[in-house]
Structure formats: structure tokens, C-alpha cells
């Protein structure tokens, strides 16, 4: 059973992929389909494509971007950004999304989750929740006011589960882009309180952070920025972790070839020489 997923998160703004830090600083990365194609080839377990500003702009993530990504990407795809009607969700699924992530529309109308899972099935509905920590309490972050109120994250998680969500995507605003590790206690509490799978997000800096968050019992770990600056990043993280609960990559990396930071170690000359004469055989099928 290769049940824990490492999810590559691609944040977009309109049709541009961006990097986010603390939900306040943004850097451009390029075309989303190029990021998706690389993650797919490096054997990511799923891709999460989110338009960060769609709901505040009052629009929906562009269906044409999904079509473009699906042209080049054979990985499972979860899509989010401003989706507030069943019709919009159906169109995105038709274009190639496997699952739909709902954030703002859940807060506006929790029953929307029920409508969506009645139509698409529970397995296709992800509720996405952002939170900040205040006085050791995890509170739901509101995108409109850009602050957290008094709404407890745990209450929102339980409500989403009751309404028919198939998975929870829980993102830490405080740790977004900081690379300091995940908010472990929060995930542990949620996993203990709900029966649906949970995705941890926000804080990846090095492979051992993934190891730490797996021990909380989450089903999936989302990584954003950390994947974009190292060649074969996903395959290297998987090789470093070398865990039976994670689907191994077949790119041929061994755990001892990868540094603590998830980078490939400098190789000995004889190893590099050997690479010159690698013969890959194949056949027509």
C-alpha cells in the first residue's frame, strides 16, 4: 500500500504560476503547465492547482488552464479557486480535474459541499481551509478580511466532514513559504477527530519535515515552493525518505545519494564516468 501521497502544489494568479510567502509576498514562476509537466515526470503523487485570487476577483479558475495542464500531465489533479456552483465544478472535471477544492464557497454556504458531493461523489470534493495560530489555537483565516476571527479550525473541519467533504486540505498561513516545517500538533488533533483523509500544507523546507508530518497520521503532504528549485525534487525527496508508505520513484536515486536538504550529493568520478555509458533498452509496444 503506497498510501501517503506527496502532492505538488501549484499556486497560480490568473494564468501565471507564482510562489507565495505568508500570503503576502508573491514571486512569478512561469507557466503552470511547465511546472505540472516536470512534477508529473518526476512522479509526484498528485498535483494541486489553485488560483489564489479567483474568489477575491469574483471569478473562477480558468478551465482552459486545466485543459493545457491535462495535455502534458498524467498525474491526479485537484483544482481550486473561486468555485461556487456545481456547474463550474462539472466543467472543470470535464476538462480533466479529478477533484475539486472548495474554500470561500464553503464558508459562504457549507451546504454547497453537500450539493457538490451528491453530484460528483464524496471522493471528488476537497474542503480547503487556511488557518493561523493565535494563543495556541488554530483559527480559520478569512480571505476577505485577511485575518482570523474566532472560528476554530477544528469546528470548520468537523462541519466540512458532516457536510460531505471527501478530504481536508489544511494550510498554515503562518508557515506559508517559511520552510520551517509543518504545524504538527494541529494536524495530529484533526486526524484524531475526523474520519476522512487530511492533507497537510505549509512549511516544507527539507525531506525530514515530510517524515515528521507523516507521523501525525495525515494521508498526504503538500509541497509548494520546495519543489521548484531542485531538479527531480520529488524523486529525491522520495529516495531520501525511503518509506514503505510512499510510492517509490523509479528514477533510480538511492537514499545515500541525497542530502538532508533534499539535494543530490556530489558524486564520485567513477560513478559519473559510468553514467556516460548507460544503455537504456526499449521496444515498440
Amino acid at each position: 500500500m503506497d498510501n501517503k501521497r506527496i502532492i505538488g502544489k501549484i499556486l497560480i494568479d490568473g494564468n501565471l504560476a507564482i510562489q507565495s510567502k505568508g500570503f503576502s509576498t508573491y514571486l512569478p514562476l512561469g507557466k503552470p503547465e511547465i511546472l505540472a509537466e516536470f512534477l508529473d515526470q518526476w512522479q509526484v503523487d498528485e498535483i494541486l492547482l489553485i488560483d489564489r485570487s479567483a474568489s477575491t476577483r469574483g471569478t473562477v479558475i480558468d478551465a482552459d488552464i486545466i485543459s493545457t495542464v491535462v495535455e502534458v500531465c498524467r498525474s491526479p489533479l485537484t483544482v481550486g479557486g473561486g468555485i461556487s456552483s456545481v456547474k463550474q465544478a462539472e466543467l472543470l472535471v470535464n476538462k480533466g480535474a479529478d477533484r475539486i477544492a472548495i474554500n470561500s464557497a464553503f464558508h459562504a454556504n457549507p451546504n454547497f459541499i453537500t450539493q457538490l458531493s451528491d453530484m460528483l461523489g464524496r471522493q471528488a470534493v476537497v474542503t480547503s481551509l487556511d488557518f493561523t495560530m493565535q494563543d495556541q489555537q488554530a483559527l480559520v483565516f478569512d480571505h476577505k478580511t485577511r485575518t482570523s476571527g474566532k472560528y476554530q479550525l477544528m469546528d470548520a473541519c468537523k462541519l466540512a466532514e458532516d457536510k460531505g467533504a471527501g478530504e481536508l486540505f489544511i494550510h498554515s498561513v503562518d508557515r506559508d513559504g517559511l520552510a520551517t516545517g509543518y504545524e504538527l500538533d494541529v494536524y495530529k488533533n484533526i486526524v484524531d477527530s475526523v474520519a476522512i483523509p487530511v492533507i497537510a500544507s505549509g512549511g516544507y523546507g527539507k525531506p525530514s519535515h515530510v517524515q515528521d508530518v507523516i507521523t501525525t497520521g495525515v494521508n498526504a503532504i503538500a509541497i509548494g515552493n520546495g519543489l521548484n528549485y531542485v531538479e527531480h525534487s520529488i524523486a529525491l525527496i522520495k529516495a531520501y525518505l525511503n518509506a514503505s508508505s510512499i510510492r517509490a520513484s523509479d528514477m533510480g536515486y538511492q537514499a545515500e545519494q541525497v542530502t538532508e536538504e533534499g539535494r543530490l550529493l556530489k558524486q564520485q568520478d567513477d560513478y559519473l564516468d559510468g553514467l556516460k555509458f548507460v544503455k537504456r533498452e526499449g521496444r515498440w509496444v
Partner: protein
């Protein structure tokens, strides 16, 4: 009308576009359609998933597709391939949302996984899992025991062993692939399972001698 061998059924629910893209990768000329004449002349019809059972059946009924698809399937000349929900529709009935009759092409019923899986396992079953082959079949030609496939479902197809060609294990064993003559179904998403998924689809089409442009794959 242009005759095309590979037709992905567009019935208003499901990820038709992903299946078509994946088939193009493996050298198939494919269209997405719900036109009866194109369906009738197809060599393979792919029925996509992602949706709930009752909604899918009601969309098929609304468009008169249940009768047409059943007629095509009964002729025996067309391979019918179901993915995820598309595969579950082959069953006689399902309990998803409300009791609904299916296409009834393969004896069996679709039930919730919670009836089988202990509560140590979260549901839905989302993630990559390996196949446990039940039969030696040419369609597994390019698949090894290490290959994993992407599953995303809360319900499973309870059917007889004679129709189950692969099982998977998540808290309990259940059907991952079903087959009966010219009807083949995947509980997982081969179109979203990267290289392994493509190899499985190539094996399937080759085992039914269906024309496509051959593609080059490297041995592992």
C-alpha cells in the same frame, strides 16, 4: 461522419478530456462524443468516471444512452472500457446516495467500502495502490508487481471471482479490475497513473488486437 476507433463517451459527467489525452499519448486517434452513429462505429468505447452513481445513470437515461450502449455491447464487436465510476456502472445496482439500477452488464452490486474496511483506514480510499492479479491475462503483459495505480473512491464493486481479474488491498481486498468478454472495468484511474497506467492501457488494447500507433517504451 469520420470513423474513429476510439471514442470517449461524453455523457455530461466525468473526466473525458483526461482519458482522451492519455489515449493520444499511447498512439490512439480518439474523439470525445455522445453521437449514436459514432458510438456504433467505434472499436472501443471508454466510459469515464468522477461523479456519483445515481447522477451518472440519470444522465445516461436522459440521453437514451443506456439502450444504445447496451445494444453496442451485445453486438460483441466493441470493447467497452469503464474507468472508476464508469466501471461501477456495469453493475446491477448501487447504494450511492440512493438505490439505483446500473447497466447490469456484469453481475454484482456497488457497495460502500465502510462495510468492508475497518475504521483505522480513512475513507474515501485516495491514493496509489498495487494490483493483485487474479488471472494470467495478456493485458498485464507490461505490468510488474511494483506498479501502482491511482485510486479515488468510496464505493467498490462486489462481484464474482470469475469476473475479477485484479484485486487491491486497502483495509480489505476488493475488485480493482473486472472483465467479462468485451467489457473491462478499472476501479482506479489508469489515465491518471502516469507510466504504469499507460502501460496497462497498451496491454489492454494489444490483448484485444485493437489498432493504434505503436509507441516506444524503455525497459526498466
Amino acid at each position: 461522419m469520420i470513423k474513429v476507433d476510439h471514442v470517449v463517451l461524453d455523457y455530461g459527467l466525468g473526466n473525458a478530456n483526461s482519458i482522451a489525452s492519455c489515449l493520444r499519448d499511447i498512439g490512439c486517434h480518439v474523439i470525445i462524443s455522445n453521437k449514436f452513429d459514432q458510438l456504433r462505429s467505434a472499436r472501443v468505447i471508454y466510459i469515464p468516471g468522477v461523479g456519483s452513481f445515481n447522477q451518472a445513470m440519470s444522465k445516461l437515461h436522459q440521453q437514451g444512452l443506456v439502450e444504445v450502449l447496451t445494444e453496442i455491447k451485445n453486438n460483441g464487436q466493441t470493447l467497452m472500457v469503464g474507468m472508476c465510476l464508469g466501471m461501477q456502472l456495469f453493475a446491477q445496482s448501487s447504494d450511492e446516495n440512493t438505490y439505483t439500477q446500473g447497466l447490469g452488464w456484469i453481475p454484482g452490486h456497488v457497495k460502500h467500502l465502510k462495510e468492508r474496511v475497518s475504521n483505522q483506514h480513512t475513507l474515501p480510499h485516495i491514493g496509489w495502490n498495487t494490483l493483485n492479479k487474479q488471472v494470467d491475462d495478456g493485458l498485464f503483459e507490461l505490468i510488474s508487481a511494483r506498479d501502482s495505480f491511482y485510486f479515488d473512491h468510496s464505493f467498490y464493486f462486489e462481484t464474482g471471482g470469475q469476473y475479477t481479474c485484479a484485486r487491491t488491498h486497502y483495509g480489505a481486498e476488493f475488485a480493482a479490475m473486472v472483465k467479462r468478454n468485451n467489457v473491462v472495468g478499472f476501479q482506479f484511474h489508469p489515465e491518471k497513473s502516469q507510466q504504469a497506467g499507460k502501460r496497462l492501457l497498451i496491454g489492454l488494447l494489444n490483448s484485444y488486437h485493437i489498432d493504434r500507433q505503436p509507441i516506444w517504451i524503455t525497459n526498466e
